[in-house]
Symmetry: C2
Amino acid sequence: MQPLKEKIRQEGKVLSSEILKVDSFLNHQIDPVLMQQIGQEFARRFAEDRITRVLTIESSGIAPSVMAGLVLGVPVVFARKRKSLTLTDDFYEAKVYSFTKQETNSIVVAKTHLTEADKVLVIDDFLANGQAAEGLIEIVRQAGAELAGVGIVIEKSFQEGGKRLREKGIRVESLAEVAALSEGKVTFVGDNE
Amino acid sequence: MQPLKEKIRQEGKVLSSEILKVDSFLNHQIDPVLMQQIGQEFARRFAEDRITRVLTIESSGIAPSVMAGLVLGVPVVFARKRKSLTLTDDFYEAKVYSFTKQETNSIVVAKTHLTEADKVLVIDDFLANGQAAEGLIEIVRQAGAELAGVGIVIEKSFQEGGKRLREKGIRVESLAEVAALSEGKVTFVGDNE
């Protein structure tokens, strides 16, 4: 997706060979116009899939998911990283290890917001080792819902998460696929083709 | 704002005289169409204020803020509740006590995303005791930015946050003002007038 790749080239900060910081438009500050374009693109790619719900995870997955949900005409559910006192229902729960934060969180979704009647589009901001996506997919499985696929804003294709999901037969649609991070520069898959 | 009040009446769950749960459209599941209407209403109310940035807090403030930012044509910054390893810049920081979670968090905003040139609209999902809003306002103050006002989706007018902010001369625009929660029922300010 061209506008996203351009934004990453212009504003992404390569902090190491593994870390790309996009705090100026996705992870801390949000560019609403770009989020709208991203939402439209996810909706276009899954237009024929009769999606009934978008499932994401707080916090950075929310903005692209809400824009996708708006175009698809379906509600968005965001998994919470821990239980809050105002969540009193029963939950689906999965464990997610964050390499960035070096900690394991439970992610939870109230059973009332995801059922076996749902066809789910999972959306997240980044796909690296695939921990978050696999946690969300586990929750879809627990609900007995159908997984239509996974929509990712930025996939770090040099890490193994995307490969592992695709090997399981899961459809993964990534809007920007980063092939390498080196010397302050982002290389996308297909850049030199 | 009528569609919001109707949604609260239909789907809000009164858990006690102080707790209103709106997990079906705002705090866990999100209704994107309602969020768009909310964003449009915030943008309408602050249309003449030359807003340059919307400031909110993760996670439930993000959806209404992104919709408001889209209509206003400005970026949205969400304060993070703790430092993440990928945030390496200098921060504005404020302490926020959550009555719901019974804990104090630091909320942080990178200095690169808020400056003295900004005119800021602070948006949050709930206004109860006002802790989160006051933390965000403190961050606006630290940045030397101008505060245009505070936009709130649901104000619990029987708690003191809104009163305290208005007494300081801060403009507070709440889209639904809850006067009381009792016997499973929500009463809005102005219901019996």
